[in-house]
């Protein structure tokens, strides 16, 4: 089984409009996905068989804005991307069996009689040149816009790691002042019995916060 690297074919960058400062940079990439293998080889590959992904280290170059930012900054930007739309422009399968395609950033909406869910399915030995929208999201919900404006670095996956400094063998951590948890504590001063902004900061930007909630409630 093998897969080839992605080829970004076009790149449409839109500067944030002055009337909508919460919008980021909108980009479009066209990826060429190629998955090859015999059924026996795909079976031997186990759960990761039939997978296509970017070559490690190429993500920033393919999905980044193309600016002079260092790769770590771009990697962080990619962590909180918002996918607006995914279109299948063309596909071609020489497999003699029907396939289900999953795209990990896209919710599966096509369902088989056994209840399996996929982003889309492919008929055996088929060729399709008709474009199809696989996924489209409403990127303008107020909650989403506000969150991305206020906390661009944070997602559900990195809440406990981004902007957190762990101190080994201690029940507390240092939390950056921009972390959303600090805003939550700030707005619930009465509930926790103290004002977070009255607490001393380390290096002017880190609050000391217990990891597990012990008292107050």
């Amino acid at each position: 089984m093998s897969s080839t690297a992605a080829i970004p074919l076009n790149d449409v960058t839109t500067a944030p409009s002055s009337s909508d400062t919460t919008r980021g940079t909108i980009l479009t990439r066209t990826l060429h996905v190629n998955i090859t293998g015999s059924l026996a080889n795909l079976n031997m590959a186990g759960p990761s068989g039939g997978t296509w992904r970017l070559v490690d280290g190429k993500q920033a170059g393919v999905f980044g804005t193309g600016s002079d930012l260092d790769s770590q900054t771009v990697t962080n930007q990619l962590r909180t991307a918002l996918i607006h739309e995914v279109k299948l422009l063309q596909d071609h399968s020489t497999f003699p069996v029907a396939l289900g395609v999953t795209i990990n950033c896209v919710p599966p909406t096509e369902i088989t009689d056994l209840g399996e869910k996929f982003a889309y399915t492919v008929l055996p030995q088929s060729k399709n040149n008709v474009g199809q929208t696989i996924y489209q999201c409403d990127a303008n919900t107020e909650d989403g816009l506000q969150w991305r404006k206020d906390y661009p670095k944070w997602t559900s996956a990195n809440l406990e790691t981004e902007g957190i400094l762990n101190v080994e063998n201690n029940p507390w951590v240092f939390v950056h002042q921009d972390h959303p948890a600090i805003a939550l504590l700030r707005h619930n001063a009465a509930l926790i019995g103290c004002r977070i902004d009255d607490q001393p900061k380390i290096d002017m930007e880190w609050f000391k916060v217990s990891y597990i909630f012990y008292s107050y409630f």
């Binding site: 990826l31 190629n34 039939g50 993500q59 991307a81 279109k87 950033c105 991305r148 809440l159």
Partner: protein, 81 residues
């Protein structure tokens, strides 16, 4: 405290906010309605050759190289401020 805050944020806010980690973007194909890639229980149906049963043909079915190709267009937004 931090643990409780993170759980609250996830439940009350992030459950309504879509975001994706494009560093992990991947596409995977799976065989529909089969136990595994080498499932041959419906071989005759899939190959449209009723009655196929010879060992050679089964071997060929399992070991021939196949390809799936797709052109996917992804439109997305990055916070660059």
């Amino acid at each position: 405290m931090l643990n409780a805050c993170c759980q609250t944020i996830r439940a009350k806010v992030l459950s309504k906010v879509a975001s994706n980690d494009l560093n992990l973007f991947q596409v995977q194909i799976k065989r529909l309605n089969a136990d595994g890639w080498d499932d041959i229980h419906d071989l005759n149906i899939n190959l449209q050759k009723p009655g196929i049963s010879s060992k050679v043909e089964v071997e060929q079915f399992l070991t021939s190289p196949y390809t799936y190709m797709a052109r996917l267009q992804v439109k997305y937004e990055l916070q660059t401020a």
